[in-house]
């Protein structure tokens, strides 16, 4: 901002000079406010969904394929944990406390917040060019050579350069795009496909998947994929420098000044 003196002396100039000053501030922001806010709301909801999802799973740690499946039918696979229900044949001689009631309520409440936050992020992302500028890989990057180079560099756990702190590399872009446009839509879809009223209104949402139990199994597998993403995401942040990356997602600043050429 210009000093009051210069503003009085050169009112026109001060208006014009504010533009480059603002651009500098914008350039020093690694993540926009919208990305930061939606990131942390989603993080909070994800942990709520994960915890309550595990609680719901405990009441029936068996998975099936097709429309139906229960304690009297053969499961596709089962999770070797005790259950919160008496009649589930787990092989354990005891039953865990039932936590399904509040778990289901919190699961759906967190799902609502996630979906609304996600919708805001998607709409804003398309309007601001966030996906085009920050996430879509450049045409030259999308070659097998570039991809294998990125994978090799990751496998060697090479610390990213300062330059890289200002944008996403190819693997990051592909991973984030997969999480945003494949895993989240899929986990929401398979979740809705388990709702008896929702599928009454939109039966194809479950028949396309091949049945209610298939939807439930895919919901579980996609959740596992999201948890794996979370683990890799945290490991990568630790490797790249936990505090600078975490600060960038909280305050928007990286602590390093970016001089673009």
């Amino acid at each position: 901002m210009s000093t009051p003196d210069s503003a009085q002396a050169f009112p026109q100039a001060s208006v014009r000079s504010s533009a480059p000053a603002q651009a500098t501030i914008a350039r020093n922001t690694r993540h926009s406010a919208l990305v930061r806010i939606t990131h942390w709301i989603t993080t909070l909801c994800f942990f709520a969904l994960l915890l309550t999802g595990i609680e719901i799973l405990i009441s029936h740690p068996r998975f099936y394929w097709g429309e139906t499946g229960n304690d009297l039918t053969t499961p596709l696979f089962r999770i070797p944990i005790p259950s919160s229900r008496n009649l589930v044949p787990t092989g354990y001689g005891y039953v865990l406390p039932d936590q399904n009631g509040w778990s289901r309520s919190l699961h759906f409440q967190a799902a609502w917040v996630t979906v609304l936050t996600g919708a805001l992020y998607l709409i804003a992302g398309f309007f601001t060019g966030h996906f085009r500028k920050n996430l879509a890989p450049g045409k030259t990057d999308l070659s097998w050579r570039a991809l294998s180079a990125a994978i090799v560099s990751h496998l060697r756990f090479r610390r990213p350069s300062e330059e890289e702190a200002w944008s996403y590399n190819l693997l990051q872009r592909l991973t984030y795009l997969t999480v945003i446009f494949v895993l989240f839509p899929l986990v929401i879809w398979t979740g809705l496909a388990m709702s008896p009223t929702f599928t009454a209104a939109f039966p194809s949402t479950v028949t396309l998947l091949g049945g209610r139990q298939t939807a439930r199994t895919i919901h579980f597998l996609v959740s596992i994929a999201l948890v794996l993403f979370l683990l890799v995401h945290i490991v990568m942040i630790c490797l790249a420098g936990f505090w600078t990356r975490a600060r960038a997602m909280v305050t928007g600043r990286t602590g390093t000044r970016m001089e673009r050429t």
Binding site: S59, G69, N70, T73, S105, Q109, P196, A200, A201
Partner: protein, 252 residues
């Protein structure tokens, strides 16, 4: 204070005011159109309300999925039930000849019905899925009379908003809004897969609500009451389910 920060404060204030006013208006509209569930209070109230309101808006008249006969599960799973009460055992010993379901509350002609009376009304069947909130499910053919038929016999008064239904077993009751109660797939069920409804599945008489999860289909029905106010029943949350931590609306 610079112009930008002043503008920001004014805009934020306007946005907050609009937000609060918007929420207030939304709440009034939701209440008017019956989009607020009886268990809308508490920390999970917003989620329960969104579930109920959303599904009322998109699926008010939708039919639950029905299946071809060859998809009927060979091994339907009867969920665990508490040991039967003396009252139940007494009626069971008599072959359920004396089983009756009474209807009272906001109706013109309160009365009670024997199983034979219910069987004499138009017989309906549906092949639908029972889905438990735990995650398991099965498909069966359910035979019975539409709840709407029984309600038309007793004459529901226009001010009634809910049908409350009680099991013979203590502390087991639930309620439906009038849309769900009048829905063509909501049955008082006395038959399953071409035979009498087995006791394990709620025989001799079970409420069947196929658009909601299994726990809404209360077993051993002996009483219906019509009301415009659920506050006086139990803890005022609309059914025994919220008292145990479960949602009143079980469509999700």
């Amino acid at each position: 204070m610079t112009d930008i920060s002043r503008r920001k404060i004014i805009l934020s204030g306007l946005a907050a005011t609009a937000g609060v006013a918007g929420l207030g208006a939304a709440a009034r509209i939701a209440k008017k159109y019956g989009l607020i569930p009886p268990d809308h209070g508490g920390i999970y109230g917003p989620g329960e309300t969104l579930n109920y309101a959303f599904q009322r808006l998109v699926a008010r008249h939708s039919l639950a999925r029905e299946f071809p006969r060859n998809q009927i599960s060979e091994r339907p799973f009867p969920n665990e039930i508490a040991p039967p009460s003396e009252a139940f055992k007494h009626l069971q010993a008599g072959g359920f000849i004396d089983w009756r379901v009474s209807v009272d509350g906001m109706v013109d002609r309160p009365g009670s019905f024997s199983l034979d009376q219910l069987r004499s009304y138009p017989r309906r069947s549906q092949i639908t899925e029972v889905a438990c909130e735990e995650g398991w499910s099965y498909v069966a053919e359910w035979t019975g009379v539409r709840l709407s038929h029984v309600l038309s016999i007793v004459g529901v008064r226009p001010q009634a908003k809910y049908v409350v239904y009680f099991s013979i077993e203590p502390d087991w009751w639930d309620s439906l809004d009038m849309d769900e109660a009048m829905h063509p797939q909501t049955f008082l069920t006395y038959g399953m897969n071409d035979s009498d409804l087995p006791v394990g599945h709620g025989g001799p008489l079970r409420m069947r609500v196929p658009r909601q999860l299994g726990y809404k289909s209360v077993k051993f029905i002996t009483r219906l009451t019509l009301t415009d106010n659920l506050k006086k029943l139990g803890k005022g949350l609309g059914s025994a389910a919220p008292e145990a931590g479960y949602a009143w609306y079980a469509g999700v």
